[in-house]
């Protein structure tokens, strides 16, 4: 049996399409965990990144924190948090957020900091308030890079959210972990395919968001 046979066997089995352990249900769970983690990470990373990028201060501290966070293994963190505070949604969110904050934070900081200073000076000369300068001048120009930070965070979250299944939560990781213990490779391959597909959908969504949100004047460069 090669991988395509496994995929075919998994997706053509109608039992995988219904009920509590069905693909739609697992898909929704996976999307829910991923969105929640991305929202929390963005709520932390975006404001801090925008502020430090605008003022240009704290870049070194930021780089240090991001590096330190990156050195923490997601899976190890998950097991540790579960051992310390027990099962639940929170122990899954902690490693996912720790994983996703550094790319958002660092790219946002860098995106805002590297905006061409001349329009910023012009806006300041015209008497715009600092918050207006940030949101009306710097953010629109920095948006493509900010989105790319969010995108890589989102893709990492989607493929790492599979570890939720290890601590008895649902999501697409369920198929992978269950398949592993049941020695049922169909399930493992099916689960992996679904996760990879979701990652590709995420890529496409961010591409579409870029087309919609980024001003044409910025995009043309």
């Amino acid at each position: 049996m090669n991988i395509l046979d496994f995929m075919n066997a998994f997706f053509s089995d109608s039992a995988h399409w219904h009920g509590y352990d069905g693909i739609p249900q697992r898909f929704l769970e996976h999307i829910r965990y991923s969105l929640l983690a991305l929202a929390i990470a963005a709520a932390i990373g975006l404001p801090v990144g925008l502020l430090t990028g605008h003022t240009g201060r704290g870049g070194n501290a930021l780089a240090f924190i991001a590096n330190a966070a990156r050195a923490l293994p997601s899976f190890g963190l998950l097991v540790l948090v579960v051992l310390l505070i027990g099962f639940g949604l929170l122990p899954v969110m902690i490693p996912l957020v720790v994983l996703a904050v550094p790319p958002i934070l660092v790219t946002t900081y860098e995106a805002v900091r590297t905006v061409d200073p001349s329009p910023v000076d012009a806006a300041r000369g015209m008497g715009m308030r600092e918050s207006h300068i940030l949101f009306r001048v710097e953010v629109p120009v920095a948006l493509p890079l900010i989105l790319s930070g969010l995108r890589s965070a989102a893709i990492q979250i989607v493929s790492t959210a599979t570890i939720a299944a290890y601590v008895s939560l649902g999501g697409l990781g369920r198929y992978i972990i269950d398949g592993l213990y049941q020695r049922d490779y169909e399930k493992v391959v099916g689960g992996a395919t679904l996760v990879a597909a979701l990652a590709l959908v995420t890529l496409a969504l961010f591409w579409a968001a870029g087309r919609l949100l980024v001003s044409p004047g910025v995009r043309r460069r």
């Binding site: 991988i3 870049g59 070194n60 930021l62 780089a63 240090f64 991001a66 590096n67 330190a68 990156r70 050195a71 923490l72 293994p73 997601s74 899976f75 190890g76 963190l77 097991v79 540790l80 051992l83 310390l84 994983l99 550094p102 790319p103 660092v106 790219t107 860098e110 995106a111 890079l145 790319s148 930070g149 995108r151 890589s152 893709i155 990492q156 989607v158 493929s159 790492t160 599979t162 570890i163 290890y166 990781g173 992978i176 972990i177 398949g179 592993l180 490779y185 493992v188 391959v189 689960g191 992996a192 996760v195 990879a196 990652a199 590709l200 890529l203």
Partner: protein
């Protein structure tokens, strides 16, 4: 009373032994990834149409969860270190290829023209001019790949004791000894930070013409993240 460094005997390694094993399982794939990425990136630089499909392919590979990757490979390579190392090497490509391509592309055309005028052939120009100038970008990519690889080895614990320090996580649950999990996470984090520091040192040694004070790590540069990449 079992202490912080008392490793359960079923792991068949001491703490130091696990560290050695972990470094081997994490670093060999990054080195293999670099060896694979250099020619691929060179081809992508030469034939520009090749770059987007290569990038797309590595991104799809990267989206496959490591655990699933391991399990599928067990059929071919068994429950061995190789099963853990193959996916890690492939994951590292998603960071390394863009880092090398961007780094090599950033070499100013005048510099290349000067090298050509001095009689450098394509190979010598690549190894003695383009690669050294691209070194900071390549090392930035290596830093991300290394940190990610060190963290991912631990997932190997789920396919039967192939996770080196990650095996401590399984043992922590099995024997209900949370201090083993603390040991595992902290040791992995310290290893990642030490390897990162070594790579920074390597960059300083490889690029003696650059000012020492400037921070040019990946944490201060958007590229490695922007490439749709990094840790897991």
């Amino acid at each position: 009373m079992s202490g912080f460094f008392d490793i359960p005997s079923d792991l068949q390694h001491s703490w130091a032994g696990l560290i050695g094993l972990h470094l081997r399982e994490a670093l060999i794939p990054v080195a293999a990834g670099l060896l694979l990425a250099l020619p691929v990136a060179q081809l992508c630089g030469r034939f520009r149409w090749l770059y987007p499909p290569v990038l797309g392919m590595t991104t799809v590979l990267y989206a496959i969860p490591s655990l699933a990757f391991f399990v599928v490979l067990i059929d071919y390579t068994g429950q061995t270190e190789l099963t853990v190392m193959i996916p890690l090497a492939l994951y590292s490509l998603v960071v390394l290829i863009p880092a090398i391509v961007d780094g090599v592309r950033a070499v100013p055309p005048e510099t290349l023209a000067a090298a050509t005028a001095m009689g450098f052939g394509p190979l010598r120009r690549y190894t003695q001019v383009q690669l050294p100038i691209a070194a900071p970008a390549i090392i930035a990519g290596l830093r991300v790949a290394t940190a990610s690889s060190i963290s991912l080895v631990s997932i190997g614990a789920l396919i039967g004791n192939q996770g080196a320090l990650g095996n401590l996580l399984a043992a922590a649950q099995k024997y209900d000894r949370p201090e083993l999990a603390v040991n595992s996470v902290i040791t992995m984090a310290v290893l990642a930070i030490l390897c990162d520091a070594l790579l920074v040192l390597l960059r300083v040694l490889l690029t003696p013409w650059m000012p020492r004070g400037t921070r040019q790590g990946p944490a201060a540069r958007p590229e490695p993240y922007g490439a749709g990449s990094a840790t897991r």
